[in-house]
């Protein structure tokens, strides 16, 4: 039956060959890649996208004004590569940027991308009648004006380090001539948004909800044709996805179970790809009482308790248990892949005796049952954990280690939305958090600095340390790289000594990829960023790679 299959597929492909547009070289392009994300996209229309799968699909269909570079620098515009905008000019007061659009850029229905589209997109993203989840991220943008058909001027309210990033990264343009005619209240739920018209190297074919999303290469794209013919997204749960990968049914699986990674080493069908990541995970301890937002936390406001808990866990052992030999230990409030990372910093050592002594001296004494209490209040708190299997593993490991110290930690396993809500409302005792940092130390200001506590910042812990702020300012204002690094290290050491969190590990994910695929260099934050440049050598193609660009029978 397999051979009959192949013959039919080959026949169809042959028949189609004579009518489709020619490819650049014999077999240089081609192939169908099946991605197996863990859930279906909620939406693939850029202003409504809020989930990971949606973003993955959206990024294949829509180009941004400028794309962030592999170093992920969000400050200024040096690291950005032109996309829809082939160049841009800053006003002298930096309160506006004029983007010159690439005249070759076209929407998938053939119409050119114009400045009107940018202005329209801004309206959709920020109008409360549409209620885009992206709107808060564009708070600093004031308006967009059209200077001529290929020049759009974006106006800002304030001059901020990330203003270029806000526009270039968050505002993904959509075509006005397609969506402009629909009233904004109805646009969000209009079926027209389920078959988006984009401008990037893949175009939309179909979306069977819950089953698959199909994209096909845009052969006349201004950035060049994608090397693949087709991408299909088939959502499924992790266990099934892993099985599908091993049998060749799926070509790419994100977050392959770590314990089973060795299966990939011995598989002839798929292999493991370990990508470094820019994010690190920690157990944050809320120094404020979750019930009355500004009162000190009965347990965590005492630095001795926080340090004791940090010393109670064997971070290396946990790393080996969860990641085997592929893990990366966290050395502070940064990921080890950051240029300013410093592995010489002194973290609280693993010393249970010292931890016990510290807790005793802080007044938390062990009772008859071995559990500690102070003034009648037991040393007991809840840890909010999101569904990441690694965080859950760590939570269980730490729970037991705390127990031997007389500390009771209850696990509150919630979904991502609920975890997000806890962070936004600051109503948690402890929480497994993660931050992504960009290479500049100034990014750390947003996560651990006092500036980050305000609206728009990421400092959900509301951690404030004046000494850290001052040292960080010294770091970011020095022009001497050596001095910058030294100030930064001192700043980080301050945070580490103050132990607002237990720094655990850098996020390391094992992706499963089919062996016939040649991946392009991936970005650490989004592995799908260069999907269009993945390729399948002619000699390794299988049935579904040879279909070509033919649309299926109706």
């Amino acid at each position: 039956m397999r051979t009959a299959f192949l013959l039919v597929a080959a026949g169809v492909a042959l028949a189609a060959c004579s009518t489709t547009d020619s490819r650049p070289g014999p077999g240089a392009t081609g192939g169908t890649v099946i991605m197996a994300p863990t859930s279906d996209a909620s939406s693939i229309f850029p202003p409504s996208v809020f989930d990971l799968t949606g973003r993955m699909v959206q990024d294949q269909l829509f180009d941004r004004l400028a794309e962030i570079g592999p170093e992920l620098v969000t400050i200024g515009d040096k690291d950005f590569t032109p996309r829809l905008a082939k160049s841009w000019t800053w006003a002298s007061d930096s309160l506006s940027i004029a983007f010159s659009l690439d005249p070759r850029a076209r929407w998938h229905d053939g119409k050119p991308v114009t400045a009107n589209d940018i202005r329209f997109s801004f309206k959709v993203y920020t109008d409360p009648k549409f209620a885009s989840p992206v709107a808060p991220l564009l708070a600093n943008l004031d308006s967009v004006t059209v200077r001529d058909s290929l020049t759009a001027v974006v106006w800002f309210k304030k001059h901020t380090p990330e203003q270029f990033y806000d526009v270039a990264y968050q505002l993904v343009p959509i075509p006005e001539h397609v969506y402009g005619g629909i009233p904004l209240e109805q646009l969000r739920t209009s079926p027209i948004t389920q078959s988006p018209v984009g401008n990037s190297r893949f175009r939309f074919v179909r979306w069977d909800k819950g089953t698959r999303i199909e994209l096909v290469a845009d052969t006349s794209n201004y950035r060049g044709r994608a090397k693949l013919d087709r991408i299909v997204f088939t959502p499924s749960n992790p266990v099934t996805a892993a099985t599908q990968l091993l049998t060749g049914q799926a070509d790419f699986v994100e977050s392959y179970p770590f314990d089973r990674a060795s299966e990939l080493d011995t598989s002839t069908v798929a292999r493991a790809v370990v990508l470094p990541n820019f994010a690190y995970v920690f157990m944050a301890m809320n120094q404020f009482d979750p019930k009355s937002k500004n009162a000190p936390h009965p347990i965590f406001s005492d630095v001795r308790v926080r340090r004791a808990l940090s010393m109670a866990v064997d971070r290396r052992a946990m790393l080996t248990n969860v990641f085997g030999d592929k893990g990366k230990l966290s050395y502070g409030p940064f990921a080890m892949s950051a240029p300013f990372a410093d592995s010489t910093l002194r973290l609280p050592p693993y010393d249970t005796a010292a931890a016990k002594a510290l807790l005793d001296s802080a007044g938390w004494r062990a009772g008859a049952n071995g559990m500690r209490a102070k003034n009648g209040r037991p040393l007991r708190f809840a840890l909010v954990v999101s569904p990441s299997p690694f965080r859950r593993r760590y939570a269980v490991l730490m729970q037991e280690q705390f127990k031997t110290l007389g500390v009771q930690m209850d696990l509150d396993q919630v979904d991502d939305n609920a975890a997000r809500a806890h962070m936004d409302n600051h109503d948690f005792d402890a929480l497994m958090g993660a931050f992504s940092n960009d290479p500049s130390p100034s990014g750390v200001r947003q996560t651990w600095g006092t500036d980050g506590i305000a609206e728009g910042g990421q400092n959900f812990l509301r951690y404030s340390n004046k000494r850290f702020d001052t040292l960080l300012d010294s770091a970011t204002s020095s022009f001497d790289p050596a001095k910058m690094k030294s100030y930064a290290s001192r700043a980080f050491q301050t945070v580490i000594d103050d132990a607002p969190a237990i720094f655990l590990y850098d996020i390391t994910l094992v992706y499963g990829v089919n062996r016939r695929i040649t991946m392009a260099p991936t970005r650490t934050d989004e592995y799908w960023a260069n999907l269009a440049d993945w390729s399948i050598p002619a000699g390794k193609r299988i049935d579904r790679d040879r279909i070509g660009l033919t649309p299926a029978k109706p």
């Binding site: 039956m1 009959a4 299959f5 039919v8 597929a9 169809v12 169908t32 099946i34 859930s39 279906d40 909620s42 939406s43 409504s48 409360p128 009648k129 549409f130 209620a131 989840p133 209240e185 109805q186 969000r188 739920t189 909800k209 819950g210 089953t211 698959r212 199909e214 087709r230 299909v232 088939t234 959502p235 499924s236 749960n237 266990v239 099934t240 996805a241 099985t243 599908q244 091993l246 049998t247 049914q249 979904d415 939305n417 609920a418 049935d543 579904r544 279909i547 033919t550 299926a552 029978k553």
Partner: protein
């Protein structure tokens, strides 16, 4: 008889109404008042619409009436996770579950019946004992476990069948008609087999007990005395009488099939009602969860009604 049919249909409607009531109040008990839609970031236009339709700022009895009226029209609310109306989500998912459950039901009843009869025919014999043991094992195994083992065995160890999905995500559209049919069948085999295995045990046990009750009865002895072959006695006479409780069994088993489908769909990533329910559980999508309860029950109710009417057609004896 016409009155019986009318009464049965009326009963089905009443039961559906009761199910809707139960579902409404169960979900109503959620903290944060799910039907007010405040707790979830919805597009304001959608929220306005839902407000108008379900009237969440109105008193409880009125809300209930509106809810029932909406459900009767097929409006179950909005799915936050899928960003579409619950009605649309169910319209796509339900046929897939019906296909799966339908195939499994046919197979389970068919096989279970045959096995049960064969067991009763030679009660205590080696076939009876061996199959009883095997069936007992399947009856005691957790649903998702059997499904998992089947999936790993037949798609991972022996690469015979695909794991997950309802059709090949790419090649299906390029296949000629008969090949596309085979593709669908290949994807259906493992999930249907899992669901069948688990329920077949219950059917066989039931049928065996029913046959054992009928076999000693007078008319069977009379049939034997008439000189009919044992086979004719069993398969034609005894069986026909033992079939009567089949409708009761169908009524009892239908919810089991739908329930079992929840697990099987999750293991095989089969996008039916079961997957819809488990996704809604993870995402706290109240409208969807409420709707799956109602729709699941309606399937059972309608199935029962169909079985009763069928039974009526087949067996004239109960037309009293």
């Amino acid at each position: 008889m016409r009155r019986y049919i009318a009464a049965r249909i009326l009963q089905s409607v009443v039961v559906t109404f009761i199910v809707t009531t139960i579902a409404f109040f169960v979900v109503r008990a959620a903290p944060g008042d799910p039907f007010s839609y405040e707790s979830r970031p919805l597009p304001p236009a959608v929220r306005q619409q839902l407000r108008a339709q379900f009237g969440f700022d109105k008193p409880l009895p009125e809300q209930f009436v509106r809810y029932v009226a909406n459900v009767a029209r097929g409006n179950f609310g909005y799915s936050f996770g899928k960003q579409e109306s619950v009605h649309d989500a169910i319209a796509q998912a339900l046929p897939r579950t019906l296909l799966l459950a339908g195939v499994a039901l046919t197979l389970a009843f068919g096989l279970g019946l045959v096995i049960g009869v064969m067991q009763a025919a030679r009660r205590g014999g080696w076939f009876d004992r061996v199959t009883s043991g095997v069936l007992l094992f399947f009856y005691s195994v957790p649903d998702f476990w059997a499904a998992l083992v089947l999936m790993v065995a037949f798609s991972s160890w022996w690469r015979l069948l695909p794991s997950g999905n309802i059709v090949d995500p790419v090649m299906h559209d390029y296949m000629p008609g008969w090949m596309a049919f085979i593709d669908r069948a290949r994807h259906l085999i493992l999930p249907a087999a899992s669901l069948t295995l688990l329920s077949m045990a219950a059917v066989a046990r039931y049928q065996r007990a029913a046959m054992l009750e009928v076999l000693p009865s007078d008319f069977v002895r009379a049939a034997r005395a008439k000189g009919l072959s044992e086979r004719a006695v069993i398969w034609r006479h005894a069986l026909r009488n033992a079939l009567a409780p089949m409708t009761t069994l169908l009524g009892l088993m239908l919810p089991v099939f739908i329930g079992g489908a929840v697990f099987v769909e999750r293991v095989f990533a089969w996008p039916g009602i079961g997957s819809l329910a488990t996704d809604a559980l993870a995402g706290r999508d109240y409208d969807v969860v409420c709707a799956t309860v109602i729709v699941g029950a309606v399937v059972v109710i309608l199935g029962n009604l169909a079985a009763d009417l069928l039974h009526l057609a087949i067996d004239p004896r109960i037309r009293e």
